[in-house]
Amino acid sequence: MLKVSGIDVFYGDLQVLWDVSFEVRDNEILVLVGANGAGKSTTLKTISGLLKPRKGTIEFGGVRLDELSPDKVIGEGVVHVPEARRLFREMTVEENLIMGSLSPEARKKRAQTMEWVYELFPRMKERRKQAAGTLSGGEQQMAAIGRGLMALPKVLMFDEPSLGLAPILVQDVFEIVKRINKEGVTVLLVEQNVRQTLAMCDRAYVLENGRVVLEGTGKDLMNDAHVKEAYLGI
């Protein structure tokens, strides 16, 4: 349903993605893995419209996302939960959640969605009047995911949700990702936490130096010699 075809992306004069193509199928969990600087975050930023590809197209449900501005992309139901959470630190948790639901449709169902999010994250309900900047790392990640859900996403893109979290929390986060997926949301996940993500995903692509080098099911890749050497094996 989300199809990225042959995109080249630059930061100023600096090329970071070369001819990247992949597709996300309906209701699956797709993972992009790769080392630091491989271009994973850049790929997500390009899908969400923060960056424009110089070449190539991004299609979602028949709509060319690469021609839309970020606010229109989110309107199409493609939502990006950014790296390092990026909450609005001086706003309360509730305000952060509201910020997730600005599109006309999400707005209409704001109260309902918020109930749903509070159900998913009871902690958030307790802390709803607290400034987001004062939350702990794990709570911030919950708030960021909740904020993403408020947009009623069809595709939810996560950029390293496990970053800086204790192992026990990492597990919680992945649990939540799976749950969201079960509720009918397609998930595109970018992770360095290779072993865990490959274990939970349906399919995965491996990015190296701004290029897709491998693709396959999570299991296949776990057993791939190159992946083993570069990311798993020691």
């Binding site: 969400s48 419209g49 923060l50 501005s69 970020p70 606010d71 992309v73 989110i74 309107g75 939502v79 990006h80 950014p82 990026r86 909450l87 609005f88 630190r89 001086e90 706003m91 305000e95 509201i98 910020m99 997730g100 600005l102 599109s103 707005r107 400034a131 904020r147 947009a151």
Partner: protein, 290 residues
């Protein structure tokens, strides 16, 4: 004691107006991270609008309804066509936008001078010279009304920012532009709207100041400086901070004038500015967390 109380009242009343001048600046600085050195000039423009309307028999307080939308549109235009294009320009000086506002300020002043000459204009209303007394302390009617309206605007602004999606989007853009973009906020539009809002607010201040002050093309500069000091005092993007900052500056000026001498008025403001920058970066906002 009377001297002290009268000074206090004078300072607080003036501070209310200052708050309204500062709040526009604080929004613009908060969202765009640039200092608008044409802020006072925008106010000056609004005062001329008020003046022109007054010659047609419109009361200055009613001209709020004309001056604010007009200045809003002007602010929108300035941001859209002169300031936003600079974000992309590759240049050695990152302060290009600030310098641009300097140019805009100069041009506005001179355009007005062109149309109205340098003559002082003034608006006299029935209430310009009215006073009422509480005990021995005199209150200028016009300044008291202005204070009331200024506070009303500031409070309205506060609720706008807290309670509406647009207001929240403005705050979100100020805090994290990229994240706001990801939430579907069109940040380019937000900067444009914010500059418009800031202009409209300072226009309101101009309308309120017009009956108690006078109008000439060069009056912008000192008010830009005051707006800036208020913003630094209050903290970027903080409405409550702007009230604190405005009243603090008003009080400091009045108290300074009474107890040091009026010629030190501006020096006192500047000194507070430098001290706050050095020792309380972030302003009152950092103390109150609002």
């Amino acid at each position: 004691m009377d001297v002290f109380l009268q000074t206090l009242v004078a300072g607080v009343l003036k501070g209310g107006l200052y708050a309204l001048i500062g709040i526009g600046m604080t929004l613009i600085m908060g969202v765009m991270g640039i200092i608008n050195l044409a802020h006072g000039q925008l106010m000056m423009l609004a005062m001329y609008v008020t003046f022109v309307l007054n010659t047609m028999g419109v009361d200055p307080y009613f001209s709020l309804f004309v001056a604010m939308p007009l200045l809003f549109l002007l602010g929108v235009g300035l941001q859209k066509f002169l300031l936003n294009p600079l974000i992309k320009a590759d240049t050695i000086l990152p302060e290009n936008q600030v310098l641009m506002t300097v140019g805009i300020g100069m041009a506005l002043t001179e355009i007005v001078r062109f149309g109205f000459t340098s003559d002082y204009k003034y608006i006299t209303t029935t209430y310009s010279n009215e006073t009422f007394f509480l005990g021995k302390i005199s209150f200028s009617m016009a300044l008291t009304i202005a204070f009331g309206i200024a506070i009303a605007f500031t409070v309205a602004m506060f609720f706008f920012l807290i309670k509406t999606d647009l207001g929240r989007s403005i705050r979100a853009t100020a805090q994290d532009k990229d994240a706001a973009t990801l939430m579907g906020v069109n940040t380019g539009r937000i900067t444009v709207i914010t500059f418009g809002l800031g202009s409209a607010l300072v226009a309101a201040a101009g309308c309120l100041l017009a009956p108690v002050y006078y109008i000439f093309p060069d009056l912008g500069g000192p008010f830009t400086a005051k707006a800036f000091i208020i913003t630094i005092l209050g903290g970027l993007g903080s409405t409550v901070g702007a009230i604190f900052g405005g009243v603090t500056l008003g009080l400091a000026e009045s108290m300074g004038a009474t107890y040091f001498g009026m010629e030190y008025e501006d020096i006192i403001g500047l000194t507070i500015f430098v001290l706050v920058l050095l020792f309380l970066p972030g302003g009152f906002k950092r103390l109150t967390k609002v």
